[in-house]
């Protein structure tokens, strides 16, 4: 079953996004739920931070199946941004050289099993899709 909703392009939408995610993932194992929630927040937050010119609401679709959870975030009225192309964070640097920049997408890429991005230039609409498989018995990736 696919759950669909849209959320205002604001950081304070995160509580509503989390509630929507929790409801859509009822029955999923805790590690899978955690990975999906993390990935959704990172992508949604990036869309809020860097897509101020976009349409007022960001769409989220969650398709929860036994074989995995597929999530699509729909961001319209924006320039393209492929999260797969973000630079790797430096996670082995000494603490004085560390910065939080890029950590979110770095961790996201470790937590999901599939990540892709499509952009419709005519509609200026980006669709970021990821899949997180069941985690029971250990990470799938």
């Amino acid at each position: 079953m696919t759950a669909r909703s849209t959320f205002a392009r604001r950081i304070d939408s995160l509580d509503a996004v989390a509630a929507f995610t929790d409801a859509a993932l009822e029955g999923a194992d805790p590690a899978q739920r955690h990975a999906v929630a993390f990935a959704i927040e990172e992508l949604f937050t990036n869309m809020v931070k860097y897509g101020a010119e976009g349409v007022p609401r960001i769409g989220i679709e969650i398709d929860h199946r036994v074989e995995g959870v597929q999530v699509t975030l729909i961001d319209a009225g924006v320039a393209p941004f492929d999260p797969r192309s973000a630079p790797q964070a430096r996670i082995d640097a000494p603490i004085e050289q560390r910065s939080p920049g890029g950590l979110g997408l770095h961790v996201l890429r470790r937590m999901v099993d599939v990540l892709d991005y499509r952009y419709d230039a005519g509609r200026r609409e980006g669709r970021t899709r990821f899949v997180v498989g069941p985690r029971t018995g250990g990470p799938a990736c």
């Binding site: 995160l14 989390a18 929630a37 603490i95 939080p100």
Partner: protein, 98 residues
């Protein structure tokens, strides 16, 4: 929803709920008041995002700069995974939940 309490006279800071991008500024304000060697009791921390990681990193840098540090205790397996993926296991003392 996020709550932080404690941290007086060497007692642990207890954090509970979701440390996400919406709650990170309040968490930073609270942790900016801590000094020395600080224990953050994470037993009731349900979730952390990269914004929360940024709060912990900034706090650790400040505390280490004055000879202190932040120790994370009661960490759940899911949050431990995020610490590992972000390399925080190299820069924090981390104690898993029992």
């Amino acid at each position: 929803m996020l709550t932080l309490e404690g941290g007086e006279a060497g007692e642990a800071v207890r954090i509970a709920g979701r440390l996400d991008a919406a709650q990170a500024p309040a968490a930073q304000t609270f942790l900016d008041r801590t000094q020395g060697r600080v224990t953050l009791d994470c037993r009731r921390l349900d979730y952390i995002s990269s914004a929360g990681l940024g709060v912990l990193l900034k706090t650790q840098k400040r505390l280490m700069g004055s000879g202190g540090g932040l120790r994370l205790t009661g960490v759940s397996p899911h949050i431990r995974d995020i610490f590992t993926y972000s390399g925080f296991d190299q820069i924090f003392e981390i104690e898993l939940a029992g």
